[in-house]
Symmetry: C2
Subunit: 379 residues, 2 copies
């Protein structure tokens, strides 16, 4: 464990990687464009530099043995250069590059027999609209930017002609709308020997009317057969990418109980935050083990859990204040994680809370309690 | 949570406090005499200075709102000065001072009706031996240094006349030997409102012949009535000390199932290491909550666990190497904590492993496996 590990990105995922690594006395270093990123507050070795900046990445990588990422938006060409110079780079640069482009992701699923919704790539609205006219697509469907989407940004529902007005202008894909029964995610981790583990599927629970994520439940409330199929599919995806380290696989379950791959992320993922307290070994520790050539740890679930994101109030921007936090801390089984962001913005991910309890109905009750108590506002 | 917290001591307990505090975005700073202490490797704000050095402590405390400790051997007079200048200091300096002196600890138990073994204080061997002659003590009994004992150091069994030769010369106490059935520990935590919680009693399991701690089990294998009595007694002790924050209470169960207080520590304790993974809220987080005036978190046990210390091989001194660690990492439910000490010494605490499993016999099996696999040697 004496290898020097360089991590591109110093956000909350980096912060949680740091915590996992320091428990094992791993030697972790970070690169981030923002001097006040979450990791900078907690880790002694953080270098300031852009994640697309060749000079910054080369300088950062020069004295590292292993390089990894906590965000996909990085310069993969420079990472490939570092890899060819003898550094270990996981996830491998070609995998990051493929995943950065949602168009190429979809082509990959199509060519590798991975079930995913129907899609097509377009360079302009005009090209897409003419295919709507010719009957290739019927409303509603989904428009997605091929690159730079993040946390729901870069996704646009097109329900009728009128929705084209504020559609993305170019370089997008159209996906058939899936009649979704449930949304699941399976976090996988693959070691350097190619052995893949799959965490229990988690379920994103949405508001019955508004398209609003309420919370995430582990394990997902699905049949044993869907659970097994989801893990099998996620493992298949990870193996076909040939990735080393984490790959989070987001899945749709449609009304016919068919599983479809939505998107993947080759890094720690929001859908694995609960693994810190709810699993024997967290996604963060397993990622670090994987890229270090160590055996993976036990990914079993210790306890059912409910995860909610602490989001910036849509009305507030400015120095953050967590109103009601004292009451939340008193709630049994509540594990509060604050990312240390000083400024709140509408819907910004400021932290998360992982609730643990053997009884799911208790979890939902406590979630309601938190919802009524905690307000992320400005001072 | 915007208070500046200063922690005296930067050892492994400080490192684990740091990890708990950074999850909650607490603002933690450390003072330690060693520039290469475990915390210095992981936390950005570590000041070098002696924990008995008035100038260093005053300078460190000047810009802090709250001060706490992770080791008792500190200058309590200076902490009291800081307290009187308006800083919050928990545990309170007079409590640390009382606990530093094992003689005063015993007097405190005697005067406050807390069950503890018979004892007497002595200034010289001669004084003690004359009381042995007069029949006040019969062999075997225990000799303890009043101050500066640590991790078993400062304790000497006197079984016969001959054992006086290498006994401590002065400023010690004699304690009656207890016919011990079990050794337990209860970690308590008290908030600023005086509300005390007690973690489940843990049990130290010793080698049946050698006086050697093998591992620690949570929960302790005791009857419900002993469990309740142990928690009640520990709570009583914490309340009588009037301490804010953690107080670990070490207990003997004698052959008649009577509970006796052995010693206490007003800080995170080895007997609470398992709480990181095995309890809803760890001792570390609860200590930080307590001293910050926040409500305490759920101290319930999520899973049975077995804790073993990773100790330096008695034959080795030098740069540490953990032979067999890869195999240990592959053991299901094993949470490895390495403190980041670069040099190993005989019996030095280098880390610990917390095993989690619902089945105690599985825990013991895995412990045996680790024992045969892991060697803490030099490179």
């Amino acid at each position: 464990m004496n290898q020097r590990i360089g991590i591109l990105g110093g956000g909350q995922l980096g912060k949680m990687l740091y915590s996992a690594g320091s428990q094992l006395d791993m030697d972790l270093h970070f690169l981030d464009g923002q001097p006040d990123c979450p990791v900078a507050k907690v880790a002694p070795s953080v270098q300031v530099g852009g994640l697309k900046d060749p000079k910054a990445i080369l300088a950062f990588g020069a004295d590292k043995d292993i390089l990894t990422i906590e965000i996909e938006k990085v310069n993969t060409a420079v990472l490939e250069e570092l890899r060819q110079s003898g550094k270990k780079v996981f996830p491998q640069p070609h995998v990051i590059e493929l995943i950065q482009d949602k168009g190429r992701q979809k082509e990959f699923y199509a060519s590798d027999d991975i079930p995913s919704s129907d899609f097509a790539l377009y360079h302009s609205k005009e090209a897409a609209r003419s295919e709507v006219s010719s009957g290739r697509w019927t409303y509603p469907f989904v428009q997605k930017m091929r690159t730079d989407g993040y946390d729901g940004r870069g996704v646009h529902m097109i329900r009728s002609e009128a929705d084209w007005d504020d559609a993305f202008p170019n370089n997008f894909l159209i996906e058939a709308a899936v009649d979704i029964k449930k949304e699941l995610a399976v976090v996988t981790c693959t070691d350097t020997q190619g052995h893949t583990i799959c965490y229990d599927p988690v379920e994103m629970v949405f508001h019955p009317e508004a398209n609003l994520l309420l919370y995430q439940l582990a394990p997902a409330d699905v049949s044993a057969s869907i659970r097994t199929s989801a893990q099998k599919l996620a493992k298949d995806v990870a193996q076909k990418y040939g990735v080393v380290g984490l790959l989070a696989v987001e899945l749709f379950v449609d009304q016919e109980d068919q599983l479809l791959v939505n998107e993947v992320a080759p890094r720690p993922h929001n859908s694995g935050h609960h693994t810190i307290e709810a699993c024997y070994t967290s996604q963060y520790e397993n990622h670090l083990r994987a890229i270090s050539g160590l055996p993976l740890g036990d990914h079993g679930l210790i306890s059912p859990s409910l995860l909610l994101n602490i989001l910036g109030n849509p009305e507030c921007s400015g120095p953050v204040h967590y109103e009601g936090m004292e009451k939340v801390l008193a709630i049994a089984g509540a594990n509060v994680h604050l990312y240390g962001k000083t400024m709140t913005k509408p819907y910004r991910k400021m932290g998360h809370i992982n609730l643990l309890d053997p009884d799911t109905s208790v979890l939902v009750e406590r979630y309601q309690q938190i919802l009524q108590t905690l307000k992320v506002i400005t001072k």
